[in-house]
Each structure stands twice: as structure tokens, then as C-alpha cells.
């Protein structure tokens, strides 16, 4: 897959946007300005941005509890996302969802999901619906290494394979399911390797290299769109933050985290590659970072300025009719 200079810069900016959104969210959470549970995707930006960059606007994604990056990458508006994180009336979900439950059905975002492995069955339904409606769309389900051990993964992989559904299973293997290492919990050691059991392609990808993610997910999307069925893509990556904000992280060492940050930061890696080929100058880099900072600051301000819902609005939006 060829990627033009302009496309590369747009991808880079999107990655910066995801990172800035996440860093700001962590900051606001630490200041007690955002209630609830927060799971940040810092370190995994190549997977979210790379994957969504090969999708059409009407393609579907099913996201996870660590979903902010997927949403921004698929085109969600950081303003309405922050409004939701602050529990405001004009947030994506009118303050009823919060960080773990943001959706934008108009962008094909079928929702972040608080249940690990909750996205698989939903994407099977979306895939079946695409097939019945003959629209040429595809569906992507993001999931982590932990979700690969849920029964939903296996049921979905089997169903997608027998029906040749236009879906792509995109794993973000960040080595830990909450506190439990994949090295301990994952039989066979490979998620992509499980694809062979279902007779579908499985790819292991350097999930910190956005162009590689784009290339392989692009291939899987093409196959799905042409009616040739599902694939499993395993993006090997790492989360720089804890499972949740406030995670004491006793299951891994500081050295390990620092080592990944130093050697495998997807944004640094892409920055270096773009600088090397002359696409990105220091000046351009600074300009892009400034633009992103402004965009995120405006989004935060917008979110904080929005009205809170009236308490009794808690009773709305359950049914379409009484």
C-alpha cells in the first residue's frame, strides 16, 4: 500500500492527537476532574490510527474499554468526547456512558465496550448485516490479548470463517490482560496463530510501526471487502500506562516500561522515519504539535463549559417508546 507524504503527515498528526487526548485525560483524571474509570491507550497509537486509516467512513468498528484512540482514529470529535468524559449533557452519550461507553453510530463506531471480548459478537452481527444488505462495507473488531481467551473470540472467529464475513479481528497485544501477562495466559503464545484453526489468514504485525499496520490491515480489509472472508491481525504493541489510571503496576518493572518507551514508541519511530526521508522537518513537527495542543485544549474547554444533565434525564433514552 502506497502512502503519500500528505497521508503520512495526516497519520502522524492523528497519532499526536490521540496521544495528546490521552495525556490530557490522564492529567484531568489525576486532578479529580473526570469521574469513573479511565483506560489510556498511550503507546498503541500506531494500531488505532493505522487500522482506521484503511477504512471507509461507513465501515464499522467495535471498540474496547481502551477505546479513545479507536474513536478519534475513526473520526470522532474530541470535543464531544471530552464532554462525555466530564459527564455533560452534550457528550456523545449525554453523560450516560463515560470513558468506557462512547459510540458514534453516524461514523460506524458501534461503541466502546466495558466487557472484555464484548465486541466480537456485535461485529459478527454487523458483518452478517453487511452481507445481507450487500453494501460492500467491512467491520473491524479491536480487542486485546486478554479478550483472545474469551469464548466470544472463538465463537466469532468460527462464525466469521464459515460465513466468510467481511470482518477483521484486530488484536492489540500489549502483553498484559490487566495484570496477567500474555506469556502466562495465552496457550500457544500466538493470537494470529489461532487463525489457522479456523482456516483464515493470521498476521503478526509490528504494531508500533504504523505503515506496517496500514499495509497488513489494508490487505485484510481488501480481502474482506472482496468477499473473501475474515482475517486476524495481531498488532504487537505495549501500553505505556497502567491498565487503568491509578494502577500500581506491580506485575511489571519500571525498567521494562522505560525500555519500551525508549525503543518502541510508535510516535517517535514514525517521527524518526518521516524526518529521515525528509517528510517532516523540526519546524513542521513543532507546528503540528502546536496545532494538536490547541485542538485538545479547545476540546477540554468545550467539554468543561457544557451543561450537566438534569438528574431526571437519567430516566430517558432507555426505550424508543413507552
Amino acid at each position: 500500500m502506497r502512502t503519500t507524504k500528505e497521508e503520512k503527515l495526516a497519520l502522524y498528526k492523528k497519532m499526536l492527537t490521540v496521544r495528546a487526548f490521552e495525556e490530557k485525560t490522564g492529567e484531568l483524571f489525576a486532578q479529580n476532574l473526570i469521574p469513573g474509570f479511565i483506560h489510556l491507550s498511550i503507546g498503541e497509537e500506531a494500531s488505532s490510527v493505522g487500522t482506521c486509516s484503511v477504512l471507509r467512513e461507513d465501515d464499522y468498528v467495535a471498540s474496547t474499554h481502551r477505546g479513545h484512540g479507536h474513536l478519534i482514529a475513526k473520526g470522532a470529535d474530541p470535543k464531544r468526547m471530552f464532554a462525555e468524559l466530564f459527564g455533560r449533557k452534550t457528550g456523545y452519550c449525554k453523560g450516560k456512558g463515560g470513558s468506557m461507553h462512547i459510540a458514534d453510530f453516524s461514523l460506524g463506531i458501534l461503541g466502546a465496550n466495558g466487557v472484555v471480548g464484548g465486541g466480537f459478537p456485535i461485529i459478527i452481527g454487523a458483518g452478517l448485516s453487511i452481507k445481507l444488505r450487500k453494501t460492500g462495507q467491512v467491520g473491524v473488531v479491536f480487542f486485546g490479548d486478554g479478550a483472545a481467551n474469551r469464548g466470544t473470540f472463538h465463537e466469532a472467529a468460527n462464525m466469521a470463517a464459515i460465513w466468510k464475513l467481511p470482518v477483521i479481528f484486530v488484536c492489540e497485544n500489549n502483553l498484559y490482560a490487566s495484570t496477567t501477562p500474555a506469556a502466562y495466559s495465552l496457550a500457544g503464545g500466538s493470537i494470529a496463530g489461532r487463525a489457522s484453526a479456523y482456516g483464515i489468514p493470521g498476521y503478526v504485525v509490528n504494531g508500533n510501526d504504523i505503515l506496517e499496520v496500514r499495509k497488513i490491515v489494508g490487505k485484510a480489509v481488501k480481502q474482506a471487502r472482496e468477499g473473501n472472508g475474515p482475517s486476524i491481525v495481531e498488532n504487537k504493541t505495549y501500553r505505556f500506562r497502567g491498565h487503568f489510571e491509578g494502577d500500581p503496576q506491580r506485575y511489571r518493572t519500571k525498567n521494562e516500561i522505560e525500555d519500551f518507551k525508549r525503543k518502541h514508541d510508535p510516535i517517535q519511530l514514525f517521527n524518526a522515519a518521516l524526518a529521515k526521508e525528509g517528510t517532516l522537518t523540526e519546524k513542521l513537527d513543532k507546528d503540528l504539535r502546536d496545532e494538536v495542543t490547541t485542538l485538545i485544549e479547545e476540546a477540554v474547554r468545550y467539554g468543561q463549559d457544557q451543561p450537566l444533565p438534569q438528574p431526571e434525564e437519567a430516566l430517558e433514552d432507555l426505550y424508543t417508546n413507552p
Binding site: C93, G95, F105, G111, V115, G118, E155, T320, P322
Partner: protein, 328 residues
């Protein structure tokens, strides 16, 4: 409209055929659907008439329900056949955490027009894992509607309303009622969800029931009549939304109430109905509300054991007399 005498099973197939003809986004998905038109023959003729719209699945209840949810979110109107209501537990996350919550949790962005259809109930010596009445689980989950019809005409009118509803509906069909016959109008008619029906008028006691127990209560009413007691039988038909107005109107006339269901007594829907009657109609009651339900054990296999555990006609007769303070 002309009426014929047909079974619940045929009423279901007829209604679905009419709906699938009308709306091509409707499809049926589940296990073992095409070989025998459903394991109870409940989808007679539909696969032949609508090729590709009756879809056999692997034994994967979680993904079967999930496939319904994902399809409903993206423009389709699925009817998910869960084979037996007893298999609900294998798909509970999809039903209670996903289906029921997606609209609310995402601030009303989505509509989820899905019907999850499941045969329930005992009386067939099918033992503990093929005989349950699990409606309470779903009534206790905001976001779902729950339908429990008894007679064939209600099956037809209610399934059509359920299919057209933009909200998730859990639709139970009692297995012993598949072959139950009754008059069913030909052609188009709808019965709104949330409307109960008085199956027998009476003045002395209100018996509130649903599903197969409706027939047991009607039989009990004939026995009570011989003793000079006229029971009014309310078939709720839908448990959520609940037609409490119908219950209230009847109790304001009879001043006595008995709730009868096949599900086990403790934590059953009868407790909810009795509590609401107590809260809202206390002044109209001449006696405490009583409940009849199955004994609190799994449904056993041997017919003699099963009969003992499930409510019987004589239990209803006796219960009504106790409410009325008559010697049994």
C-alpha cells in the same frame, strides 16, 4: 376477518411469514432452523418461502445473540431463536450487558429492533435444563420487553408487534402450548405490547397469570364456579411493560387477588405484582394477595416428581379458596 382454529406454532409461522413478506430486513437466525423448520416445526414453510433469510448457526449462543444485536444496530430486524430458554445463560452477557444497555448507555443513539424468541416451561419430563421459566431474569433487566403469550391469536398479534418494535423483546413460547389450538383471525392485526387480556370475567377474585398457567387457571375457575365462586382470569400476555391498570380495575371489583405462575415462587414475578398491589391497592383488598408458583427446586425428570413441583389446577383452586377464606 375470518377465524380458523390453528395452533400456536402455526400462528407464529403465519405471523412471521406476513412480516417477512412486508419487510425484507427481517430474518431468523438460530440453531437447526432449516432442516425441520425449527426443532418444534415453529417456522413452517419460512425457509422455502424466504431463502437466505432463515439462517442456521453453529452451536454458539453467545454469538447468535450478538449477531442479532450487531445486525439490529446496522439496519436489520432479526428474530433470534434461542432453541430453549434454558440456554439463555450461555448468552446472558449479550442479552443483559449488551442488548439491554446499548441504547441507554450510548445516550439513545441506537435502536435495537431484535426479538429473542425462546421456548420455555415444563411438563414434558425434559428435566432441569430444558424446563425452566426464566422470565424474571429479564424483567429485572431494564431495557428489555418481555412477552409471555398463551393462546394462538395472541401469539400472532404479539409477535407482529414485537417484530415491529424498535426495542429488544424477549418472547417466550411455552413448549406445551406449541400444539395448543384456538381461533386465530386471518390476515393483519396487531396486539400491542403491554396490554393484558381478561380471559374469563368474574366478580369474586382476580387471578393474575400468564403463559400456560392461563389454561390451568381457566380450568380452576370452572371448578370454583361449581362452588359458587366466580373468578376473573387476567392473562397478562406481556410482563414488561406491565398492564397494571387492568389488574387494578379488576381488583377494585373483586377485592381479592391471586397471582399464578409456573416459575419458582421465590423471587418470581408474582412477588413484584403482589408488592405493587399492596402498595397501590391496599384499601381495596379484603384479604392478603397470595401467590402460586413452582416449588423452589430445579425441575425434576420423573413425571411424578415434576407434577409435584409445578403448580397444578388443584393448587390454583385451593389458593383461590384460601384468599377467599373458604375451607379447602
Amino acid at each position: 376477518m375470518t377465524e380458523r382454529i390453528i395452533s400456536c406454532s402455526d400462528a407464529l409461522a403465519e405471523a412471521l411469514g406476513e412480516e417477512m413478506e412486508r419487510d425484507e430486513t427481517i430474518f431468523i437466525i438460530g440453531e437447526d432452523l432449516t432442516a425441520h423448520d425449527g426443532i418444534f416445526g415453529q417456522f413452517k414453510g419460512l425457509n422455502a418461502r424466504f431463502p437466505g433469510r432463515v439462517i442456521d448457526t453453529p452451536i454458539s449462543e453467545t454469538c447468535i445473540v450478538g449477531a442479532g444485536v450487531g445486525a439490529a444496530l446496522t439496519g436489520m430486524r432479526p428474530l433470534v431463536d434461542l432453541h430453549f430458554a434454558d440456554f439463555f445463560p450461555t448468552a446472558m452477557d449479550e442479552i443483559t450487558n449488551q442488548t439491554a444497555k446499548i441504547r441507554y448507555m450510548f445516550g439513545g443513539q441506537a435502536k435495537i429492533p431484535i426479538v429473542i424468541w425462546a421456548p420455555d416451561g415444563g411438563g414434558l419430563s425434559a428435566a432441569a435444563q430444558h424446563s425452566q421459566s426464566l422470565e424474571s431474569w429479564f424483567i429485572h433487566t431494564p431495557g428489555l420487553k418481555v412477552v409471555v403469550p398463551s393462546e394462538p391469536a395472541d401469539v400472532k398479534g404479539l409477535i407482529k408487534s414485537a417484530i415491529r418494535d424498535d426495542n429488544p423483546v424477549v418472547f417466550f413460547q411455552h413448549k406445551k402450548l406449541f400444539a395448543q389450538t384456538g381461533p386465530v383471525p386471518e390476515g393483519e392485526y396487531l396486539i400491542p405490547l403491554g396490554k393484558g387480556d381478561i380471559k374469563r370475567h368474574g366478580t369474586d377474585i382476580t387471578i393474575i397469570t400468564y403463559s400456560r398457567m392461563t389454561y390451568f387457571c381457566l380450568e380452576a375457575a370452572e371448578q370454583l364456579k361449581k362452588e359458587g365462586i366466580e373468578a376473573e382470569i387476567i392473562d397478562l400476555r406481556t410482563l414488561k411493560p406491565l398492564d397494571f391498570d387492568l389488574i387494578a380495575t379488576s381488583i377494585q371489583k373483586t377485592f381479592h387477588a391471586l397471582v399464578v405462575h409456573e416459575a419458582c415462587l421465590t423471587g418470581g414475578f408474582g412477588a413484584e405484582i403482589a408488592a405493587r398491589i399492596g402498595e397501590e391497592l391496599f384499601d381495596y383488598l379484603d384479604a392478603p394477595v397470595m401467590r402460586i408458583g413452582a416449588k423452589d427446586v430445579p425441575i425434576p425428570f420423573s413425571p411424578v416428581l415434576e407434577r409435584y413441583v409445578l403448580p397444578q389446577v388443584e393448587d390454583v383452586v385451593e389458593g383461590a379458596k384460601r384468599v377467599l377464606n373458604r375451607q379447602p
